[in-house]
Symmetry: C2
Subunit: 404 residues, 2 copies
């Protein structure tokens, strides 16, 4: 029996919280299970280190940034091992090199390629709780690479897959996956379980915990995830195989405020024009989300899409530089938007769901700026001032009413 | 041509100082030399990390303490590499595992056994300045071990020896080796050069920079050390082969306030009694310094010795517990002492030096509590209130008068 647990930066932010985590970890180990724990850097450590790097060189090589950042997780891993020892259980912390978490060369956003097992198994044989520094790998040059923000979740799932863990607990500051953010929608309900597919739609649409890539990896390797609180013993939410989960008509709602709309107006109505726009953006590694093409004037088309707010300035610059080759009349942008995503199997089979969404928004007087629908999700952009009202209204209509 | 430079924690305490160090390093690299730089953790980082460890577990395993501490040097190495890049020179930071600084297993106080050369040579071939995290090694279990406080100096000298560096610069917050601490003796003079032997006597007697073990290693491998300021371009002090240095009658004075005297009174005058005392203290790993045996009563002896102040309570406890087996009447202790050490070749050849010391102390009215003399050094214990006066008087008599 092997359990992998992951604790985020908030859960290990200070000595008291580390002791709390250690108590939980040791409790599990005392039941006779092997326990592997993945930790993030303490609290705002990663931001503090990034600020230190920026002070000496805003254009520092990513190799050195990763060398700097990976110390944060090593510190919390060592501290947690010490805390477990205090509760009378032997424990050892390992960084990515020591475990052998082999990753790609791409500094700052590497992918795990394989994980060696020898050192960890040796430590289990010695009776140790194994604490692993999350968020990091080692590449072919024996250098540290980091796996992208939030990637400690991915480390945990990858370890769970490699060592055949019973499941992977992601212990965080929320006690499960909710039908909506409870801070925004007080009537939001905690889900008992959710399938990988629905979960992926939620994380792709702005839900931050657990991390999208971790869920992808869990789906690929069939690792069951339990999302639960690191502070309480509340039952969490299971994320598992779609076939084993009773699919709800609507699994949940996500609100994303980090979104800006760009509209390219007056495009000539000829093939390849959309390709041109998105290829210049792809070259600049800008992620484009919701895309809509609509009829403009008599012989023209408009294309609208959303990007992350922080990319907006660059997007406008790139499109302006390419105005002639793309051939368009004008750009308009809107930053005062928020995106509401509704995810659920019901969207493909139950045509009433879409009309319920529109009705709920109409009833509360919220104007829809843009609509995009796929098989199991629907996304609407609304004025960011009304997003809380919109989320509450849609949640009441689709979930609140029906499940109560 | 290869130069190894070492910068201590004060020299890399913040972004501004790191930029200053980077400018110096890049300036040397631009002259066409290979440069290897060893750095300590920033400012009080090591103490901060130790405090974090103490909070979660005051009895944490040293293995985990080392795992925690070694991140400090890795951080400053990465930051300095970034700063060198900002000045337009490629640079790479390496930790002990990446360099291959193989050390003994003893966590917290390991010794360097050997250093692999491949990675560093590869980085030199690429034209990189190589920045190495000091104070750390990797043991046979692929675990980090630290080399003891102040051991970044040792890392630097070991690297200089391994790679055949022209010399090893120890850049610090003083601009050389002085005949006495200038804060205590304003007339103290900077030495242009000093032999290994004299330097070792000074560092053994309380002089902290450079680190004693680094000088030992430099002597063993014939590495020339240049102690200089990390802030100014002032000429520093060369530490090198005794045969190449013009030996002064008196090389310098050191004051050590971290000293307490213990006197064991009324010991039976029989063989083995001193052995008994010092073997029980050795078992408890207590370092004993100046030792003096004197005539007590008719058939008894007194033995006095000094220990570090922080060890005094434990020493008294151990001796009290063994009073019967050792067989003594009473213990007296004195914490209000300071030790003045005079080092120089003249002490063995020029009998006038010793009497000059006593005369200087007599003239300024300082009472000597205890005297100990060896071939090239003389140590006196005086009341700590008068140590500055004593140091100034002895310095004036032996050095100030003669060299001016």
């Amino acid at each position: 029996m092997l359990i992998v647990q992951k604790y985020g930066g908030t859960s290990v932010a200070n000595a008291e919280r580390i002791m709390n985590v250690a108590r939980r970890v040791v409790d599990v180990a005392r039941t006779g299970k092997h326990v592997m724990v993945v930790v993030s850097a303490q609290g705002s450590m990663t931001d503090t280190l990034l600020e230190k790097a920026r002070e000496v060189n805003p254009q520092a090589s990513m190799r050195e940034v990763d060398m700097l950042l990976c110390t944060g997780e090593q510190q919390s891993a060592a501290l947690l091992a010490m805390a477990c020892q205090r509760f009378g259980h032997s424990a050892i912390s390992l960084n990515a090199v020591q475990v052998g978490i082999e990753a790609t060369d791409l500094y700052g956003n590497a992918q795990i390629e394989s994980i060696r097992t020898q050192r960890v198994l040796t430590e289990f044989e010695k009776g140790n709780i194994v604490i692993v520094a999350g968020f990091q790998g080692v590449n072919g040059f024996e250098d540290f690479t980091t796996l992208g923000r939030g990637a400690s979740d991915t480390t945990a799932v990858a370890l769970a897959a490699t060592f055949g863990a019973d499941f992977c607990e992601i212990c965080t500051d929320v006690d499960g996956v909710y039908t909506a953010d409870p801070r925004l929608v007080p009537t939001a309900k905690k889900l008992d379980e959710i399938g990988y597919e629905d979960m992926l739609e939620l994380t792709a649409s702005g839900l931050q915990k657990p991390h999208h890539r971790a869920v992808e990896m869990a789906k690929r390797f069939g690792v069951k995830i339990l999302v639960r609180s690191s502070m309480t013993d509340a039952v969490g939410t299971w994320i598992k195989g779609d076939e084993t989960v009773e699919r709800l008509s609507v699994s949940g709602l996500v609100v994303d405020r980090n979104v800006a709309r760009v509209s390219v107006m007056g495009l000539l109505d000829r093939p390849g024009v959309a390709f041109q726009i998105f290829s210049v953006l792809a070259k600049a590694q800008i992620a484009v989300d919701v895309i809509l093409q609509s009829v403009g004037g008599a012989s023209t088309r408009d294309i609208s899409f959303t990007v992350e707010k922080s990319d907006l300035v660059q997007v406008c610059k790139i499109l302006s530089e390419n105005q002639e080759s793309i051939g368009y009349d004008m750009l308009t942008t809107d930053e005062n938007l928020a995106k509401l995503t509704v995810v659920g199997a019901g969207l493909s089979t139950n045509f009433g769901v879409a009309s319920d969404i529109f009705e709920a928004l109409y009833d509360c007087g919220v104007n829809i700026q843009l609509i995009s629908a796929s098989e199991i999700k629907m996304q609407v952009l609304v004025d960011h001032k009304y997003i809380a009202k919109a989320a509450q209204a849609v949640h009441d209509k689709l979930i609140g009413d029906k499940n109560e």
